[in-house]
């Protein structure tokens, strides 16, 4: 009998996903809570940056973990849940994009200020920002818009890379593609990002 622990740098060994999954199946709801705490923020980050919608990110995060709970009996408990969770999150995001596609085109002609789509717009901002903070805020909006300008298959790779800091090997596992393909998509996304950013920030020359 072995207790599978995963050691993180500078921290006490933590219980593996597989053990937590087994405990959840046995009725330990606290074990599932640990899983939620472990993955909710990185998943939320991915979803929020992918969709550019803070409220949608909350809804989809909830859906992903519901799916996890329902699917636990069928998952292989010997492997980390990370890849599976991001796969489900990505698929849910794609579903949401398809659902909004018909609506999105009509919104393209609305105000060019897309703050209502930005996750930053959901953050309360009740006081005047110093100039430096305003510039940083503007940068976040620019980066988010550049991500939103990417086609979904590139967007997945870019968000996992920049927002979630996954290696290309991990990205390949999440997106079920060879590592080389993940790198290729990332490199192909770069000119698109450059163009999108250049339209807003002239200091970045377009290719």
């Amino acid at each position: 009998m072995q207790i599978q622990h995963r050691r993180t740098k500078g921290q006490v060994p933590e219980i593996s996903d597989g053990v937590l999954a087994s405990q959840t199946l046995a009725g330990d709801q606290h074990a599932f809570e640990v899983l939620v705490q472990r993955y909710s923020t990185p998943l939320f980050n991915f979803i929020c940056h992918f969709l550019g919608d803070y409220d949608q990110a909350c809804d989809i995060s909830q859906q992903v973990f519901l799916q996890l709970y329902i699917s636990l009996p069928t998952l292989r408990t010997g492997e980390p849940l990370k890849a599976w969770l991001f796969q489900v999150a990505r698929n849910r995001c794609l579903d949401e994009l398809r659902r909004k596609r018909a609506i999105h085109f009509s919104e393209l002609e609305s105000t060019s200020d897309d703050d209502e789509l930005s996750p930053l717009a959901a953050m309360p901002d009740e006081s005047p920002l110093p100039e430096e903070l305003a510039e940083r805020h503007d940068l976040q909006l620019c980066l988010q818009r550049a991500i939103q300008a990417l086609p979904p298959k590139f967007r997945s790779v870019v968000v996992l890379r920049y927002a979630n800091q996954l290696s290309f090997s991990e990205i390949g596992r999440v997106l079920k593609m060879p590592e080389a393909t993940a790198k290729t998509y990332f490199q192909r996304a770069k000119p698109l990002l450059r163009t999108a950013l250049a339209s807003e920030r002239p200091v970045v020359p377009a290719c």
């Binding site: 087994s22 923020t41 909350c58 940083r136």
Partner: protein, 85 residues
């Protein structure tokens, strides 16, 4: 502002450019504090897993221990009239 470490790029054989520099400044978006509880509340409304509904002895933490639990038999539909395989 938080800036991500560039360590995750160090072992990758891709050239680092100004786009990487810009996106290193991409801030993480914090979920609302209520998200975890919201998730747990919705999960609590789901039926418990069949195994969790069975009274059973404390589990070992071995991932293979599930196979030893009699409660799993409840998931198997027995057809008593069939000959053994």
């Amino acid at each position: 502002m938080l800036y991500f470490q560039r360590a995750y790029l160090a072992d990758e054989a891709l050239p680092h450019d100004e786009i990487d520099d810009l996106f290193e400044k991409l801030q993480p978006v914090q979920p609302p504090p209520s998200l975890i509880q919201r998730i747990l509340n919705s999960v609590n409304q789901l039926p418990r897993h069949p195994l969790a509904q069975q009274p059973q002895s404390p589990l070992s933490l071995d991932s293979g221990a599930m196979d030893d639990i009699d409660g799993l038999d409840s998931l198997v539909v027995r057809k008593e009239g069939l000959p053994p395989s």
